[in-house]
């Protein structure tokens, strides 16, 4: 039926364009919200969700209570939801669509399915149509039939689906998010909305988490805080630690920074009624013996915590560390990487080499004290001789007259790394008339290659 026909029948009809993207986002946010029942939530097509509640039902007072709670909450959020619960995903899928609200007891899948039409089997429309054309209209009709002709005529998928629904074949749902090895949560009768309260609660949850971590002799490297808002919105807040941590005070500090940075972007709305703290990346935690005064020997602990706090607030790239490498290219010789990355690398190097060969230190060459992230192009109107230093250059719209120059120092590209043959660079140390010292280079040679060489300013000297 076209829109015109529909309008003719119902003049007051409201027409909205289909927006599959928005539908998808809504489904994902619902999946996020369903995290409160189980960490194993998977999307099912465009309009369904699978929840694997194995081992979770008793937390909500049994399967029936869980289902009722889920339905009630969805209803209050304004969704019309149909749910089914069974011991196999296939049967649950069918139950949700053909017998909403029903719980299929283990063992009774066969009885339940045999009455249902073929659409309950999650098979494509063509198979279904051809089955119906030969008079097989219910699941029960094919359930007891001979298998070999069915496979031969309708493909293996039909029998596979049937076996999955009946539990003869194992079917795992693939959760859309990785499952945290450890998580603790608290349901709140009275929703929280103040950030201070959330922080305090994080401290309490972390204290519980610490017990679990201690049992596993591990510390958390990455922590995630899930805030379930009453109206179904879920906020995920993650922090990372450069070393494994498990002290509640530290965890709380990290979340304090993160929450402060997020500030108003967390909309508490009517409050959060479930708060969960999960450690989704853990690492071996070697406990150290403190001395008699209780002071643990200084091993960079304080600095690591400081770095974690800064990265929690300002992002991963807030704390940088130079990573010296054996390379002649200036930007590669002392590139900066994030602190956590460098710590990992150092730890790896220590394990691997056992202190035999420290990272080879680059030769002490005359290098600028500041280097631009990307070399800045400069205009050079005139050079003394074709391959000489410039007499003056224009950088950032100001003309600089070169008083003295040293060089060139030729740095060839690393042909074993780069794909194309990049032009060579001739570096000059120049001083302008006011005494500023710069590091310039000419990319390419005059006359040698087709494109004219370009000049860049790469760094400044003291």
């Amino acid at each position: 039926m076209g829109i015109a026909e529909a309008r003719a029948m119902h003049p007051s009809i409201d027409v909205v364009e289909a927006d599959p993207e928005a539908d998808r986002r809504l489904l994902e946010s619902l999946a996020d919200w369903c995290d409160r029942y189980t960490p194993l939530v998977a999307l099912d097509g465009e309009n369904g969700l699978f929840l694997d509640i194995t081992g979770c039902a008793h937390l909500f007072g049994g399967e029936k209570a869980l289902l009722a709670d889920l339905m009630a909450r969805f209803f209050h959020q304004g969704f019309d939801v149909r749910a089914g619960l069974a011991s196999t995903p296939g049967t649950a899928w069918a139950a949700a669509r053909f017998a909403a609200g029903q719980i299929i007891a283990p063992g009774s899948e066969r009885n339940f399915l045999s009455r249902l039409p073929l659409s309950a089997l999650r098979i494509d429309a063509r198979t279904k149509a051809s089955l119906e054309s030969v008079g097989l209209r219910t699941v029960g009709a094919i359930m007891d039939g001979p298998r070999a002709p069915l496979v031969r005529r309708f493909g293996a998928e039909l029998v596979e689906r049937l076996d999955q629904a009946l539990g003869r074949l194992e079917e795992a749902i693939s959760p859309r998010l990785p499952v945290a090895p450890l998580s603790v949560e608290r349901h709140l009768a009275d929703p929280l909305s103040l950030l201070d309260d959330i922080e305090r609660l994080v401290g309490l949850l972390a204290a519980t988490l610490k017990v679990d971590l201690e049992r596993r002799e591990e510390g958390a490297r990455a922590l995630e805080l899930l805030l379930f808002r009453v109206d179904g919105v879920v906020s995920r807040i993650t922090v990372g630690a450069s070393r494994p941590i498990r002290e509640p005070s530290l965890v709380r500090k990290l979340f304090h920074e993160r929450l402060t940075a997020l500030g108003e972007t967390i909309d508490a709305g009517c409050g959060f009624d479930l708060v969960r703290l999960s450690a989704f990346s853990t690492a071996c935690f070697d406990a150290r013996q403190g001395d008699l005064a209780g002071e643990i020997e200084d091993t960079g602990e304080e600095l690591a915590i400081f770095a974690d706090r800064v990265t929690a607030r300002l992002g991963e790239a807030a704390i940088l560390e130079p990573a010296p490498a054996a390379s002649h290219l200036p930007e590669r010789a002392a590139a900066v990487v994030s602190y956590a990355q460098e710590e990992d690398r150092k730890a790896f190097a220590q394990h691997g080499k056992a202190k035999s060969g420290a990272t080879s230190r680059p030769a002490r060459l005359e290098r600028p004290i500041r280097l631009f992230r990307s070399p800045e192009p400069i205009e050079v109107p005139l050079t003394e001789v074709p391959d000489g230093p410039p007499q003056n250059f224009r950088w950032r719209r100001a003309m600089h007259r070169v008083a003295r120059a040293e060089g060139p120092e030729r740095i060839a590209p690393e042909w074993w790394r780069e794909e194309t043959d990049a032009p060579t660079r001739d570096y000059y140390r120049v001083e302008d008339a006011d005494g500023r010292r710069y590091w310039l280079y000419r990319q390419g040679l005059y006359g040698a290659q087709a494109p004219a060489p370009r000049w860049f300013l790469h760094g400044v000297f003291a």
């Binding site: 130079p322 004290i369 631009f372 008339a433 500023r436």
Partner: protein
């Protein structure tokens, strides 16, 4: 004599008390009754008497004198760069001071944290580890950088970093005059530095001088380097060790001063260059008959321009004074 000795003691005690209350100027407190050379007891703000190592001597006599003994170690020090393109000079001065501090502290493995906003790192370049190693002996393992999106974040990092024992020095680099960097902010940084007993250097590029809690403000600008020294003498046309022109903008003693400092990358010391860069050698002899063609572009700093020649191509009197003229025989 006994009475006057008592009176002097009273005066001494009172002075000590005043110094404790005011506490700003670390004062040399020597009991007048003993004739020993001053032991050098200094009183700090919170009344804690500390030893001589309150100051870091820069090694430049005149600068130390003008600063009243050197740079205060446990304090905020402001270093101003006049323009963003002079960032090399200002950063160089800060690194000279940090290098001196590390040398004086003798604490192995202490780190240096350099905090900057994303803006200044984009405009003036990131500190380059290989260059710092070459010039100031700061190994890459001892460097940490922090890049903050906004000046307020940079100041927050600096405050947090000032209390960390593993950092020997903290450099905060900001550009311009952000609103978040007011007197209160500098006072907070200064207090943190005092409590921790470690320096915090506030590097301000292209900023106006504002009210600050830092006891010392130095203004750095670039200076032409001297020539490289070789066995055969200065090498013409070469660029020698870094030179920085430093002016005292604020100090406890309020003595003015302008110095050209040179960093010795081998000994890691600061020296003052007294002589103007006259050891520059003129590579080309000046043109005699016509005006210098380069003169229109800028001032020639390498040498004095030749005096104006007299009309008709005659050498001027200044160039050939009469008493140097070969005497005519007969």
């Amino acid at each position: 004599m006994a009475t006057s000795a008592v009176a002097r003691d009273v005066v001494f005690a009172l002075r000590q008390k005043i110094a404790k209350i005011e506490g700003t100027l670390p004062e040399l407190l020597v009991s007048p009754s003993d004739n020993r050379p001053p032991a050098g007891v200094l009183v700090r703000r919170n009344g804690v008497a500390s030893a001589r190592d309150f100051f870091l001597p820069t090694g430049v006599e005149r600068l130390d004198e003008a600063l009243g003994g050197g740079l205060p170690k446990a304090a905020l020090t402001e270093i101003h760069g006049t323009e963003t393109r002079n960032a090399g000079a200002a950063a160089g001065l800060a690194l000279c001071l940090v290098s001196l501090m590390l040398k004086a502290s003798q604490k192995p493995g202490a780190l240096v944290l350099w905090i900057g906003t994303a803006e200044i790192f984009r405009e003036a370049g990131l500190p380059y580890a290989a260059g710092l190693d070459w010039l100031f002996g700061l190994a890459p393992e001892r460097l940490l950088f922090a890049e903050a999106p906004k000046p307020a974040d940079a100041l927050w990092i600096a405050e947090e970093a000032a209390r960390i024992g593993e950092l020997a020095a903290v450099i905060v680099e900001l550009r311009g005059n952000p609103r978040s960097l007011d007197l209160t902010a500098t006072r907070r940084l200064h207090r943190r530095a005092q409590d921790a007993g470690r320096p915090v250097l506030l590097l301000r590029q292209s900023a106006e001088s504002e009210a600050t809690a830092a006891p010392v403000r130095l203004i750095a600008s670039p200076a032409p380097a001297s020539l490289r020294h070789t066995v055969a003498g200065p090498l013409a046309g070469s660029i020698g060790p870094p030179a920085i022109s430093v002016e005292i903008g604020k100090s406890r003693t309020a003595l003015p001063g302008k110095f050209i400092l040179e960093w010795n990358p081998d000994a890691h010391t600061l020296e003052e260059r007294r002589h103007s860069p006259e050891d520059r050698v003129a590579v080309v002899s000046p043109s005699r008959s016509r005006a210098d063609p380069q003169a229109a572009v800028g001032t020639v700093v390498a040498f004095r321009p030749a005096a104006e020649p007299a009309p008709g191509g005659e050498p001027s009197g200044e160039q050939y004074p009469a008493h140097r003229r070969p005497r005519r025989a007969g």
